[in-house]
Symmetry: C2
Subunit: 274 residues, 2 copies
Amino acid sequence: MSPNTAFLNHTFIDAAQASVLITDLSIQRGYGIFDFFKTVNGKPVFLDDHLERFYNSAKKMHLHVNQTPAELKDIITELMRRNNLPDSGIKMTLTGGYSTDAYTLPATPNLIITQLPLTVPQGFQTGGTSLVTYPYQRQLSEMKTLDYSMAIWLQPFIKENNADDVLYQYDGLIKETPRANLFMVTAKGEVITPKNNILSGVIRKNILNLKNSGFRLIERDFSLEELYNASEAFITSTTKNILPVLKVDGKEIGDGQAGEITRQIFNLLLEKIK
Amino acid sequence: MSPNTAFLNHTFIDAAQASVLITDLSIQRGYGIFDFFKTVNGKPVFLDDHLERFYNSAKKMHLHVNQTPAELKDIITELMRRNNLPDSGIKMTLTGGYSTDAYTLPATPNLIITQLPLTVPQGFQTGGTSLVTYPYQRQLSEMKTLDYSMAIWLQPFIKENNADDVLYQYDGLIKETPRANLFMVTAKGEVITPKNNILSGVIRKNILNLKNSGFRLIERDFSLEELYNASEAFITSTTKNILPVLKVDGKEIGDGQAGEITRQIFNLLLEKIK
């Protein structure tokens, strides 16, 4: 296996050697942002959406990106050329960086770009997934920060509940999973995704923007009870595209099978990714 | 200036060169824990309390410390010998560490111990401090995690409000500042500190354990309104010991001067640190 290349600040380096000093605000304070997109057949998917969110997250977290979006694109192109991984995930991380006292802004962020093999299944995943809910509202939820403390802390809880992942709800309203947005389909055929205090996912955005889907695509908050009574549900993310949700808290959603409307939306989305 | 020494996993190294690989869960996910204690005249202060909390935080966050407390003490002693900094702050960080996919536990944590000069004022700081409140409940609040996202994000907010630091309140109940516990003194002379969903600070604990203080030391939650009407208030932390709070949200606490009961508690505490 040829060595994997990463990009760190100004330089392409061997990813296995890439490190940052322990004074970085990510290590000291868990502070920083990132974004993550996939390449399929050597082509980045929804790259402009991911770059837009990356710069937005940085700005809202008071961090400065030294490169312009065009410069970042050039770096990504060169990284892809060096690694030659047609199907991959590319992660752009902007750490909080070096601060005079490991606390106070402004700091000098470290830009880290990594690329790893990633094959997102192209077929509809009827096997689906099973979620368990937990009461939690992500902090600074509109920014894609490095903070996954709760998600990682909950890993034993997820196992104990025989689930594949956790679904956050707060004050009885459904939010999101740690790394995916949720949609439900009602008996009336409405396709609804939570609106407030969530991370606006790129797949979510591209589903909401589907033209001629034939479905009523709606952003509004809804309760755990409504989700239990949905006829279908699915989650969306860069690594999953769309994955049917068959169970929540051990209860079957609809008939407990991957839904027909979910499948149709999956097909429409796939047209945009090919 | 002689080079500063840090300890990383198994080795004493030049602190300026100490780094961790970018795959560490602290950089990838903001995951990890730490503790921080001071040395005064070459003597660690409340070290057993800090070690106890360090191991508790690690255990509750599903992280394993390879060293026993006795081994950590030996490492700390050797670090102090090498750095020769009688008045210092020593930070022990246990990062989330290396995980197969930068997400899933178990991971292999990195242990980082650093020592920097720190002189905590030995006199009573009548100049005090001014706080501005913000609605926030720290997540995983009983563990001393690396997560200071909100604290750092709020730095511009603190400046805009001409305050020195932020005081978290949630659902109208006072919690803590990002790096200190809060106490208030009522007109009846009760000394009260919030009880639930806070980090249990070592100075806070040692104040609550003061014998013969002559004061009623009480743990109970109280409202922002009660704090506004307190006759005195102060914050406690390793780096501050006790610092009078003169203003909250621009309103003077009591007569806006450092309080007499605060001073007496400060003197009692100092006896335990000398």
